[in-house]
């Protein structure tokens, strides 16, 4: 079930995986650009018009009332609610530690400088419509913003035929503390968040996944507002030693493969025996899974197996691939962690399957995909703050150091910069 490649082919594999994320076509971008301009100009009316055209739904109001949200949320299953509530606690506990402090430094002559960490004021969370509904993502996107101190968190989601939200999504929105919910999806929804409409407030940052039109719209409004990232196809890389169980290993690879035909599952191991067993297990287990068609496609195209001499070699493979999820299914995972330079999130030991992090443990599941873990990070409290520096120089300080500043400004031929110092000396 997994194509076997050589360790020396790792860089080729990296390039192949990266080719999964197509550039957005000019056709999509220019279509989306028109929608953005239209909503910017015509506000609510345009949003309602596009919703009718694309979704076949006639909206009379964009805003979801608190009463409606309460009612829908109440319909969610009790076991689900209980698990979500505890998952929320775990996510908060993990993310609280990410809060950064202001700092202030004092120097001679009264000089004082520092940095303040300020929350963004308004954040928009996009929640996709359709059959696949991910309430866990609502927690993952909203809770770090709450902890950062964002005062107004706005959720938008495409309306459904029934006019109602999925009860689980409604519950997650309430549990996470979303302040307002609007029925607007696609590029028109993103436009509303970026520019504001009569009903929907303009925000400072837009987070959350969406289809290709949402992705294109986010890319185009980036700069007017901030965005989280353009999520690409995701991957898991499992490093397993001879002590790893084949059934666990296979199950974890399958949990990634079921997401998407473009998802990638890679096994890197020192044990050729384990590799064989995992391939058998993949076959056996996937036959019992409802998404076996997606899994088959994903494994065929992007399921790979690499045998390495040593565990350190295995980690080097991971560092080149820079996977979104990295499992260290080895006897002593802590001995390897320090060698890992590029991975979105690392799952340690035989018992920590990726699902623990996806739903429960507290780490964020919005992770850098498709090799971007080389330079990007999980969604975090940092994603919802900005840092603003400040500087105070006294009269004495400017007199003491002014001539140096003049030297530097004049070396760049910026006489007005120099003059601002000179007039004070």
């Amino acid at each position: 079930m997994l194509e076997r490649i050589k360790q020396s082919e790792t860089k080729k594999l990296e390039a192949y995986l990266r080719s999964r994320s197509d550039d957005l076509s000019y056709e999509v971008l220019s279509k989306v650009q028109l929608i953005l301009s239209d909503v910017r100009q015509h506000g609510d009316e345009a949003i309602i018009r596009y919703t009718k055209a694309f979704d076949g739904i006639e909206l009379t109001s964009l805003r979801v009332s608190d009463e409606a949200l309460n009612e829908w949320a109440a319909a969610a299953d009790e076991a689900f609610k209980e698990a979500m509530t505890k998952a929320k606690d775990n996510i908060i506990a993990f993310h609280e530690a990410q809060k950064q402090n202001n700092y202030l430094q004092q120097q001679s002559l009264g000089i004082c400088l520092g940095q303040r960490v300020l929350p963004l004021e308004r954040v928009g969370v996009y929640v996709p419509g359709g059959r696949a509904q991910y309430p866990s993502s609502v927690l993952m996107n909203v809770l770090p913003a709450k902890i950062a101190g964002v005062k107004r968190i706005v959720m938008i989601t495409p309306p459904s035929k029934s006019g109602q939200l999925d009860p689980k999504i409604a519950y997650a929105a309430q549990l996470a503390g979303v302040d307002e919910v609007y029925l607007a999806g696609g590029a028109q929804g993103i436009a509303a968040l970026a520019y504001g409409s009569e009903t929907i407030p303009r925000v400072d940052k837009i987070v959350g996944p969406g289809n290709i039109y949402v992705a294109a719209a986010k890319k185009l409004v980036y700069g007017t507002v901030d965005i989280d990232m353009i999520a690409g196809p995701s991957e898991i890389l499992v490093i397993a030693d001879e002590g790893a169980r084949a059934d666990y290993t296979a199950a974890d690879l399958l949990s990634q493969a079921e997401h998407d035909p473009m998802a990638s599952a890679i096994l890197v191991t020192t044990s050729s025996k384990l590799a064989d067993q995992v391939c058998e297990e993949l076959k056996r287990q996937s036959e019992q899974l409802p998404k076996q068609a997606i899994i088959a496609e994903s494994l065929k195209a992007y399921g790979k197996l690499i045998l390495c001499e040593t565990l350190a070699d295995c980690v080097e493979v991971a560092n080149v691939i820079a996977p979104e999820h990295l499992e260290l299914m080895v006897a002593d995972p802590w001995a390897l962690l320090g060698l890992v330079r590029n991975a979105g999130s690392v799952f340690l030991g035989y018992y920590t399957c990726e699902s623990v992090g996806d739903y429960w443990g507290g780490t964020n599941h919005v992770l850098p995909t498709n090799g971007t873990a080389r330079f990007a990070s999980a969604l975090s409290v940092d994603s919802f703050v900005k840092r603003s520096s400040f500087l105070y120089y006294s009269k004495e300080a400017i007199e003491a150091y002014g001539s140096k500043i003049v030297t530097l400004a004049e070396s760049e031929n910026l006489q007005a910069h120099a003059n601002a110092v000179k007039v004070r000396m």
Copy 2:
């Protein structure tokens, strides 16, 4: 010299200022896309070919030797070198405080989770060619990366007719600790950093300003590598009370206006007397400045004056504009700082002109421009790290909490996710 507008027109002014940054045209983007593909495919040969075509220079080698860099740097002026060396110390002192720690949390049943902060491995710094050379920007871009722990910092800059680097740039590169310097500019240089060529290494992040082709190339390679930001036209907003001196105030407004006809200088004050005096001073001082033509253009289009009732009102104007630079030229600037929500960097009191921060104080001068201070931050040590989470669950922990994880995975119809937990229970 400054057009007077009402406080109630602040939002209109914000929109007007934002309209300064044009979208990159499809023409530029598609031209740049071709260059990127060409360099990706043909490497050094394509870079050399474009350098000949665009700059009329025949390169025999892309790499600047250490000997050449030493020789050019030695030619820099002594007073400049001394001032740069002290500025470097100040920049390091300020940025050291931005280093973030790893963290680790322990819970019952042996559960362990946390976050590691890892430096990017390779960073590319773009330094524009042409007559305007900014050695201070080399320090501002490179030093935070050094402090973050980036091991390989690569500088690229377009070759000049003489074949030499400006001595000040060469000195700044050495002083900051740039590891390698290459002669490559424009979109072809950015392509080399994004994809790598035979000579120039592929990096994880590209920082530094450039012309429109550089900006377009950075936008297009974003995702393959990280980028700092697409710098837009910059601005200063000065809040002044009746105790502020008109000559200081005018000098500071002019220090922004001299940058660029698109730069904006805005005075917000409670004193109509000061406003009149500042306008006179602007006229008087600008007549003595070498860049008076640029200044006249900039002030005419984007020089504004807003009179407010109170200083708190003045700060509200600043919060809407979200200026790159905000000066609080008031008797008690610390009383206002807490009200400031949106500003790239804040300069406190009558003596702290923006130039202190541009060159000397230690805060970074690479700041969010054109209203993006609403959601973006100065370049910092944070810009050169990534955060990677980790999670460990014991056998006992998965047995204790597994059923909750299964509930959540099944609520999203992700059976393979649920199964990865089930096989372990």
